[in-house]
Each structure stands twice: as structure tokens, then as C-alpha cells.
């Protein structure tokens, strides 16, 4: 028997009202502004932009405020908003070699053109709580030094000149877009990179860590990590030429990985690539390790059955909005489904008992 049920509207409305009050918290404490979140919780804003797959710091800050700091909920809000925007077009590929580097380090070469620039990093901090931050107000004088304008070439370029690393040949192919066509396998590298760029940071980190611990090991060195602003240029049809549409901060990681060579290729290094919106080096390094692990087939390596080598496993489970949508739906009413399960188990038990009774009587 099917019974239609209505009700709960008032409870839902009231729950939302309470949610809004809880979001605001104690009203004797000053309210947080969007600008404060954007400026002072920048790395949270960066994560929401990267995984929400939409570069707009103010929107990401609003989403974080609305989501009470739940970043996956904030990413959900951004993804939903994104779908309402008409798309004006696609940019020309950004030129990371022309980045205004705020941070640029290499773990493979000490001395290199452009130098090692540490930037605003947590590295080398002692990870001790700073109670001065709990007291009010602090303004810090940052030392400055004359900046000599110089090109900062990619580290992999040096290796490429000697033929020691696999070449990354330019092409102008139109890449697949998983926001327009469902992600289908086999996924080429462009599609995998799009998927990884918006994948959950924690998931990507776990996958990357598993390769370091031996599940599909690829011996990665961080050839280079660079963070800074790049111009985004797009062809404007009504003008007939391209203009810079904006400037975005990105984190780029290039790993240099061991490779023993194959029948067709001499021994050479191979590459993993990570590119993420905002300052987000954990995600960017993770992305490049996972990218490299997923390349086993095109590089003629063995599939050792490691999770990070399994494109279906990685790409279909890395999206935190898909994952949380499916995971959390099981808490919503399943009364009818469950009713049929209940009836089934009662019937099975009844049958089992009936079989047991005559046996007991013997």
C-alpha cells in the first residue's frame, strides 16, 4: 500500500531560520564582512575557487560566510552559481612562463635563472601557536628589495634543451570540457587535468601520498613550484583581436620523475603537472603526482594495480560535490524503500521460524 505523506514545511522553514541565526552566532560579537574573509582567509577562498571551478574571490568569500565555514558546502554554492552564468568563450592558454612570480622554488637545482624565491610561505615556520594573534592588531613591516625584472624560465626547459626530459609538444587542439560533456573513459590527459584541477584537495592529497608510499611509485621530485599572477587573454570577436580579460593567481607544480626508457624512447625523465587557482601548493603538488601516476599507460609502464593508476577510481571519486551529494542523500527520507525492506525481512524471519518450529517439535 502506498501512502502519500505531506508535512514538514513549517519544520523546514523554522530549521532554516535557526540556521541563519546560528550562522550569525553571538550578536554581541562583530559580524564578519565579505572583505574580511576575502583578505584574511585567503587560502580558504582559494580552495573554494579551485574546487568550485570559478575564479571570483568575492563570490567565494560570500559562499564561505553563507556556508558557516563549511568549505565543501561553499564549493557546492559556487558550482550551483556557476551553472547560471552564460559562457562568453574560452581564453587562450595562460602563459605561466610570464608569471609575476611571488614564490618560485626548485627542489632539483639550487642555482637557477630567476633564483629561489620563497614568497609568503608556511615552510620554515615552527608550527607553534602565535598568541600575539589572539591579542588585537598587528601591522608588520615587510622588508623590500629592488626587484630586477628578469624572465623566470621553467626548470623543465633546461632539462628539455638537453633532451633529458620527455618533451611536452605544443598543440592547439580544443580540449574536452567535463562541464559540457559527461566525464567518460578513457579520459585523455587534458580531461584528467581538468578533473584533477577541481578535485577535492584531501582526496588528491591522499592519492598522491599513496604513490609516495609505494602504491604506484613514480619517484617524484618537485622540479619547480611557482605561484603568482598571470594574465588571461581572450579573442574578442567584435574587436577582431585578443585583450587581457583579467589577471588570476595560480599555483603551478612540475614534477620530474624517473623513467628507465622503453623500446622506442631512450632513458629520460618524465613529467607530472599540477595547475590550480590561487595559492594552493599542497593541491598543486598532489595533482602533479596523481597526473604522473595516471600516465602509466602512455609511458608504457606496468599497471601494478595501484589505486592512483586507476583513472576510473581517481576521476570518479575525486569530485567532492558528486561524492557528498550521493553520500548525504541517504539521510533524506527513504520511508517507502525502507518499508519494503522491513516487510521483506519480516517475511524471511516468519518463514525461518516456521521451518524451525517443526524441527524443534521432533
Amino acid at each position: 500500500m502506498y501512502v502519500a505523506v505531506k508535512g514538514g514545511e513549517r519544520a523546514i522553514e523554522n530549521a532554516h531560520a535557526w540556521l541563519a541565526e546560528e550562522r550569525r552566532g553571538d550578536t554581541s560579537v562583530e559580524e564578519l564582512s565579505i572583505a574580511q574573509i576575502r583578505e584574511q582567509l585567503k587560502l580558504a577562498v582559494n580552495r573554494v575557487m579551485a574546487e568550485g571551478s570559478l575564479y571570483d574571490p568575492d563570490l567565494a568569500a560570500l559562499a564561505i560566510k553563507q556556508a558557516r565555514g563549511d568549505l565543501i558546502e561553499a564549493i557546492f554554492l559556487i558550482r550551483a552559481y556557476r551553472t547560471t552564468l552564460p559562457r562568453f568563450g574560452s581564453s587562450n592558454p595562460i602563459e605561466t612562463s610570464e608569471m609575476d612570480c611571488e614564490r618560485r622554488i626548485s627542489a632539483t637545482f639550487k642555482d637557477l635563472p630567476g633564483g629561489q624565491v620563497l614568497g609568503p610561505t608556511f615552510d620554515y615556520t615552527h608550527r607553534l601557536l602565535d598568541f600575539k594573534l589572539a591579542a588585537d592588531g598587528e601591522t608588520i613591516e615587510v622588508p623590500e628589495r629592488d626587484a630586477v625584472p628578469e624572465t623566470v624560465p621553467h626548470v623543465t626547459e633546461f632539462l628539455n634543451k638537453e633532451g633529458l626530459i620527455q618533451d611536452e609538444a605544443a598543440s592547439e587542439d580544443t580540449p574536452p570540457d567535463l562541464t559540457r560533456e559527461p566525464l567518460e573513459l578513457p579520459a585523455d590527459r587534458a580531461l584528467r587535468l581538468q578533473s584533477l584541477a577541481r578535485a577535492d584537495e584531501g582526496f588528491t592529497l591522499g592519492m598522491a601520498y599513496s604513490t609516495q608510499r609505494g602504491y604506484g611509485r613514480t619517484h617524484a621530485f618537485v622540479g619547480e613550484l611557482r605561484i603568482g599572477a598571470v594574465s588571461v587573454e581572450m579573442d574578442i570577436p567584435e574587436l577582431g583581436f585578443a585583450i587581457d580579460l583579467g589577471e588570476i593567481t595560480v599555483t603551478e607544480c612540475e614534477t620530474v620523475n624517473q623513467f628507465t626508457g622503453s623500446k622506442t624512447e631512450p632513458p629520460q625523465f618524465t613529467r607530472g603537472y599540477g595547475l590550480v587557482f590561487g595559492q594552493s601548493e599542497r593541491k598543486s603538488i598532489s595533482m602533479s603526482l596523481v597526473d604522473r601516476a595516471l600516465r602509466w599507460e602512455e609511458l608504457g609502464e606496468d599497471n601494478v594495480g595501484a589505486p592512483a593508476q586507476d583513472a576510473e577510481f581517481v576521476l570518479y571519486h575525486g569530485d567532492n560535490i558528486q561524492a557528498t551529494g550521493f553520500l548525504e542523500h541517504i539521510k533524506l527520507p527513504h520511508y517507502v524503500d525502507f518499508q519494503s525492506e522491513l516487510e521483506l525481512i519480516r517475511k524471511l524471519r516468519r518463514e525461518a521460524m516456521e521451518r524451525a518450529v517443526p524441527e524443534a517439535a521432533e
Binding site: 559562457r87 574560452s90 623590500e144 609538444a169 598543440s171 574587436l239 587581457d244 580579460l245 583579467g246
Partner: protein, 149 residues
Amino acid sequence: MQEIQQKERKAWLSLMATSPDGALTKLFAQTAETPAFDWLRPPEIGSVMVRGRTGATGAPFNLGEMTVTRCSLKLSTGEVGHGYVQGRRKEDAESAALVDALMQTEAATELQAAVLSPLSQQVADTKSARARKAASTKVDFFTMARGED
């Protein structure tokens, strides 16, 4: 309409697109009266898919989108202006389109001096301050004296 070099137009459009929120509109309001115009395309917010390249030099891939506001208008004197700015900024997009159109008129010299040059200076100052801070975090390696002799 005077002959305009595409390179110059590209430069001012790019500058306005990347200018900080509200800066262009403020400078423009201080400089010129809004001329009579008709919308060809009123301001609209949309997105642009940003692409990167595999390994920085290889095949393109889709990195993610960014928000962009655009509009187009025609002055009563006939010049057409296009405004494209990063983010959700309808006022700045309108100012950009107006400046783009007016830069094709005799007002160009004044606008260059009172709007575009100061805007360009603002952007350059911000960039240079960050570059100077980055430079101060550049590592100077030195070799420790060895205790062999």
C-alpha cells in the same frame, strides 16, 4: 574617427579589464560627463573558461572558469565602445565601454591623461610593491668556510 592603432586599443582595454574594483569608474566620473549613448548590449555577467597547457607548454586543457562582465554601446556621435572587465562589475564595464568609445574621439588626450595614465600607475604600483616583497624573499646562497686548511 581618427585612425587607431589596434595595439593601443588592446592596451587600454586590457588595462581597464584588470583594474581594481571601482577605480576606473571613480577616475572617469571625476574627468568627464557621461555622454549620450545607446546600449548595443547592456552590461551582462558571464564566465570565461580559462585554459592552461599540459606541462606549461603542451596541449591545452580547461582549468576552470572566471567571472567577466561585458557590455557594448554606441555614442550619439557614432563611436562604438566595448567594455570587458574581470569579475561582476557592471559599473566598471559601462565605464570601460564609454572610455573605449571616447578614446576614438577628440577626448582621447584628456582621458589618457586623467583616467588611463593614473589607472596604469595604480596597477603598476601594486605590482611593484609585491615584486619588491618577493625579491626580499629570494635566497642568497653562500658557501660556508671549510675547516680543511
